[in-house]
Amino acid sequence: MVTARQPVETIIETAQEEVERTRERIKKGLDVLLARNEPPVGVTPKDVIYQRGTLKLYHYRPMSDEVYRVPIVFVMSLVSKPWILDLTFGQSFVQYLLAQGFDVFMIDWGVPRPEDKKLSFEDYVTDLMPDCFEHVQKATGEEDYSILGYCMGGIFGLMYAGAYPDAPLKNLACAATPVDMEGMGLFRKWTDKRFFDVDHLVDSIGNIPPDMMLRSFEMLRPMDRWGGYIRLLDNLWNEQFVYGFRVMYKWTNEQIPFPGEAYRQFTRDLMWENKLMKGTMTLNGRPVDTKAIKIPVLHAMAEHDHIAPFAATRPLTSIVGSEDTEDVILKGGHVSLVAGKNAMFRFWPRVADWLSQRSL
């Protein structure tokens, strides 16, 4: 039987809920404004097994006493901090792979110092990477290893595999890796060689400042920052939302300098000359022959990637010589492809499954 008390109870419940939400909004709002109770990032336990300059080679502590024979080595981008793949508790691709029984390493290039302005692709691909792989071999007692490269890390992986086709590289997995720079959209337009004097920039300032890198990413979608703030206000009561926002916000805003010589090469050799796509790339006179890559290659791409557009990433498997290639096209953007809730159910299991068959 309907009573007059029911509407009153509903009003009281609604009011209580709103009061609670307002309290949470104030508390979390203050946390965000005052940077209190920051979510921990890069949480998976690891050991630094090798250091050189700012480079650190991490070996993540295995989570099982039986692992796949072939270890995975993450090769990270120069553009941002590497803990995007080891985001936070329950949202770490590294931890996921460890739980699946993989032996995981990561090359963290570190934050470039002023003297690192001279570091070029040759230093990264023909010196530092082989050095790291030697240490991986010593740590595992295995000759073989697989590379998993995200974004520019995938470019480095591709260059390494093309420059050293006889290396004991077992598998190459790339994610959101652009190879055809004609598809790079706004970045290509802004570095148009008719107007953009990369030599003047690099010779004047050395490393590209992190602020310049951040603004250039933001200009790709100028409304995203403000849209993010408005969504945060809308969901400030929601602990999970705020936690996820703070983690991603921290990563997005912790840009690092881009080493000057590497930036010059990226602009000249890749953006202007599209050498990787055309097969004319060389490193220290050594040709980067992607057609000589015969190992299994996986490439995961995001359909709505605005940083490495689909048009730029799509051709990767077409420029390698391997017969065992797989393209994985997933919904999402450049970052949500590899990190966050969507990645946990899409990208992570696909890569783990592919590698599990090929890491024996």
Binding site: S64, H200, I205, R221, P222
Partner: protein, 135 residues
């Protein structure tokens, strides 16, 4: 009347959903609009001009600061960068020495002091067998 407050609660959340849809669509359209402007050749020309001007100013500032600091006998940015390069070089040589010592120690089977011998996991894992779809 029963349901009245339920109705107002439902309509309130409808309004919020409507607002969110509007906001998402507006954000998408504005991003598209700005993308067209920023993708125009004139913007590329202007932004490259800005970068050039920034480079000139930065170089000029750096050179001025170098001169002033040198005048006052204070370390300059170049001095600190050079120091950093020398430190890096020393670190590399130390790392190389460490590596050589470790290799020699391994050859004559001396356990390195201060380290714990780690148990390596067995490298024999196999993927889970996939269940056949046929019954």
């Amino acid at each position: 009347m029963p349901g009245q407050n339920g109705n107002s609660q439902a309509s309130s959340s409808d309004v919020m959903e409507l607002w969110r849809s509007w906001f998402n669509e507006t954000e998408r359209q504005l991003n598209g609009f700005f993308g067209e402007i920023l993708g125009d050749e004139s913007f590329a020309r202007a932004s490259s001009g800005y970068v050039d001007a920034y480079s000139v100013i930065q170089r000029s500032l750096n050179q001025s600061m170098e001169r002033y600091l040198t005048t006052f006998n204070l370390p300059t940015h170049s001095d600190i960068t050079d120091l950093g390069e020398r430190l890096s070089s020393i670190e590399e040589r130390l790392a190389s020495l460490e590596s050589t010592i470790r290799a020699v120690a391994e050859k004559i089977e001396i356990a390195p002091t201060g380290t714990v011998t780690k148990m390596r996991p067995r490298r024999t894992r196999k993927p889970a067998a996939k269940t056949s779809g046929a019954s």
